[in-house]
């Protein structure tokens, strides 16, 4: 039996209580939501926090998905509490009917067993992944660890890109690029109060310090934009259809006026430490009616800009080629749905 290392365990019941504990415990405390990523990492001694703060009992994070009006705004916005499981989000009627692409994306994460434990907040804050990081302790010891090393081990170079000043572990969250492209809002709570951040600013291009979030801050809710005239898709490339992290993901969100693309947001994941926006591809689509040559142009721009590292399954040059293929498929899917 592979056992978890020992830790002190808090199970706060309210957000107020949770942020208070996180504030007093400081950096050594780690937040655990569903545990489906943290516990395997702890079993393999990739992470060995001495204090865990569970969000499972926090009632504010388990409210129903519902509409809210923001600051007297006339528009109604759907709010997803971060503690809901991926199954709950996927199967929710409001999500299924108004944001079917979120249902589809969440259903592509892991397996049904993991989706009924793992939370939407946990997936959005998912640890970055790398072939030199997600290994057993013995394996990592044998190569003397990597830049994303246990505490106290300093000055270890990145094993994937030895000259790199930062860790290049890959963002492997399927929901992150979609929420970035949707321009949703993330609500973050701490002892100091609340703040709102755009997903694209939430992620950092650094595999080690991959979130613009302090250890004592909790991602509490996600507010979605209005679903009106919104066309969105997320396609995921992986080895096994049933269960795998993405080796590449492409999220495309288009806002349409009539037949014309008014706004376009395109984000890729698993090719970098943060979801990457492909501005050239977006530019290629704005003002078009999604003509095939424009789609090909957008796909080619994305292929050229992507620089995947050799740190996940499949060869990086093949993954780079697939960026164009996957984005083309994503845009063709949107085009076929539109007509």
């Amino acid at each position: 039996m592979i056992r978890l290392p020992e830790f002190r365990y808090y199970r706060p019941k309210t957000l107020k209580e949770a942020v208070k504990i996180l504030n007093s415990e400081g950096e050594k405390a780690v937040i655990v939501a569903g545990g489906t990523d943290l516990f395997p990492n702890m079993k393999r001694r990739i992470q060995t926090p001495s204090v865990l703060v569970s969000l499972q009992q926090v009632k504010e994070l388990h409210r129903k998905i519902s509409y809210t009006k923001i600051n007297g705004d006339q528009e109604k916005r759907l709010v997803i509490p971060s503690g809901l499981t991926l199954s709950e989000v996927c199967e929710n009627r409001l999500i299924r009917e108004n944001y079917p692409f979120i249902s589809k994306t969440t259903s592509s994460i892991a397996t049904p067993l993991i989706r009924s434990m793992g939370t939407i907040g946990g997936n959005l804050c998912l640890d970055t992944r790398c072939t030199y990081y997600n290994q057993s302790l013995e394996w990592r010891e044998s190569v003397d660890f990597c830049m994303k090393a246990p505490e106290g081990k300093l000055d270890i170079p990145c094993r994937v890109a030895p000259g790199s000043p930062r860790c290049v572990a890959a963002n492997s969250s399927d929901t992150a690029p979609l929420f970035c492209a949707l321009e949703a809002e993330f609500h973050i709570v701490s002892q100091e109060g609340e703040r709102t951040i755009k997903p694209a600013e939430f992620y950092r291009e650094d595999g080690e310090f991959y979130l613009n979030k302090k250890a004592e801050e909790i991602l509490s809710e996600i507010t979605l934009p209005s679903s009106e005239n919104l066309h969105a898709v997320y396609l995921k490339l992986r080895r096994r259809g049933s269960f795998d992290f993405p080796v590449l993901g492409a999220a495309a969100v288009l806002k349409m006026t009539g037949q014309k693309v008014k706004e376009a947001k395109i984000f890729l994941n698993a090719v970098s430490s943060a979801p990457i926006e492909v501005l050239e591809s977006e530019k290629a689509l704005i003002g078009t009616e999604l003509e095939e040559e424009k789609i090909l142009e957008a796909a080619e721009s994305a292929r050229q800009s992507a620089k995947p590292f050799d740190n996940t399954d499949f060869y990086p040059h093949w993954r780079k080629e697939m960026v164009g293929v996957l984005l083309k498929r994503a845009l063709l899917e949107l085009k076929s749905r539109k007509t």
Partner: protein
């Protein structure tokens, strides 16, 4: 338990768990998973340990009817919840329709993945029996495949496993397969 007090790993805590309708009061380490507690403290070894990292589904059990991985769930987080393991699926001496179908079709080869698969399949059928609003898609081969896609069978007896779940679903009048497909119960139940 005092508000905001941390539970320490090194000391055991008295925890009450409801497993298969029976209440167990047990002194447990809080860093122990439900899998460790079921097998080592409660002697319920029907739940198997496979990869123990959430990849294989051998340790699947039901918590409040949802299929979960007991290897990634702390026992302390199951307080106040209803846990169902493979030992609690049959109705006393009467096998669950799924167990019956698995036995009849030989859907268990070495049997190691079977308890987890039965739990995942039971959760699926229960959703349709309850007419749960979340059971939106028709119950067919595709839906069954998806429901057990987190359970790995290394004997690779997937076809018989899927057929056995279909047979059980059919006998419970839940199956909505394409009528052109072979209906298992008409073939199998007639032969008998």
């Amino acid at each position: 338990m005092k508000k905001s007090a941390a539970l320490k790993s090194s000391a055991k805590q008295i925890i009450t768990l409801n497993v298969n309708g029976r209440v167990y009061e047990q002194a447990l380490f809080i860093h122990h998973t439900l899998l460790e507690v079921l097998r080592e403290d409660l002697g319920l070894t029907g739940t198997k340990h496979g990869c123990e990292l959430g990849e294989c589904g051998a340790c699947a059990v039901l918590v409040n009817g949802e299929p979960v991985l007991s290897c990634l769930l702390l026992a302390v987080d199951c307080i106040g919840k209803e846990i169902t393991t493979i030992e609690g699926i049959a109705d006393e001496n009467r096998l669950h329709p799924l167990q019956k179908a698995f036995a009849e079709l030989g859907a268990a080869q070495c049997g190691y993945c079977t308890p987890g698969i039965l739990c995942a399949a039971k959760s699926l059928l229960d959703k349709y029996l309850r007419d749960d609003s979340r059971a939106v898609k028709p119950l067919n081969r595709e839906r069954i495949k998806e429901a057990v896609s987190g359970n790995i069978c290394r004997c690779t007896g997937y076809l018989k496993i899927l057929e056995a779940i279909e047979l059980a679903a059919e006998r419970l009048n839940l199956l909505q397969n394409d009528p052109s497909q072979k209906i298992l119960s008409t073939v199998y139940d007639k032969e008998k």
